[in-house]
Symmetry: C2
Amino acid sequence: MRCMLTVYGMADSGNCYKVKLALEQLALPYRWVEVDSTRGGTRTAEFLARNPNGKVPTLQLEDGSHLPESNAILYYLAEGTPLLPADKTGRARALQWMFFEQYSHEPYIAVARFILRHLPADAPRRSELPRLQERGRQALAVMQQHLSQAPYFAGARYSVADIALYAYTHAAADGGFDLGAFPAVKDWIARVASQPRHVALG
Amino acid sequence: MRCMLTVYGMADSGNCYKVKLALEQLALPYRWVEVDSTRGGTRTAEFLARNPNGKVPTLQLEDGSHLPESNAILYYLAEGTPLLPADKTGRARALQWMFFEQYSHEPYIAVARFILRHLPADAPRRSELPRLQERGRQALAVMQQHLSQAPYFAGARYSVADIALYAYTHAAADGGFDLGAFPAVKDWIARVASQPRHVALG
């Protein structure tokens, strides 16, 4: 069976937006199937058959199988294209920043945004915000330090590492973050947004 | 400047053990510099110059530069060797499970182990254990489902995806987890431990 690449994703999710942005910039044809994880869409038997870990995005490949994990999808799409460095050390640097994003950045910056956008104003999880914002600022400081010395995350050129980090960083204000303290990050956001075939979140 | 590969790591850390296991199985010469992150070793100016994110492991490459993030290091070491699948989809599957490990597994199973091994018995963070153990069991259930259908995580052969997941899974009892409910995981642990040039944690 040959399928068109199909994204199962939620339009407001930064992790899903990463995949959309890469597909658009690589000019690859794809279908988008909207799955609302805030209303149980990732907990149905049908969805769990696609990704037993119950998370969006997952990409249905040409052979019909599913590939979950946003940054593994980015790497898959980018291999052999200008969006992934052509040398081994460059690829490792891209992965370094993509693992940084999933471990030290997304669990704070994306989760703060989720609480403020998707939970009621009196939700008990609001008590998590001070710690999330403190740890998120630490991640932004690491990015600021890198971007004070280099224009992009994996070498001299725009790559999937930038796509991975842009997704939630450019929307950090939604999580209560002020990027004014991180001017190199703000400049990098503008550089990413000016890349050819850029599309917005949402 | 040409350097020998040098690991800055803590012997009891599963993330650092991943790198040691891959280096041993690939028969690569390396130096190990012990850094005790529980006593501030990752917060010194000297260490932060190696990894501004303040975490072990970091690998000093032959050119003198540093590569942090355990799973990016694994990928770097494994490229072009039997420890990484030779096809694009296989590499993406290896990365899928390595991102799963850092996002859905390590923050629960490794952190529960850290609290029980390194913090005093009356530490306030003990209150986190029920949630960490619940989420950790969810990760083990996803692994059990996969391993009921396949011997390894990225296809038919042992790879860096197995190294990444083995590190904290085989030590899960340290975090209060009972692997008796996950028999396919237990069998996989035995398969991983029987690979050539295997070395133990610690």
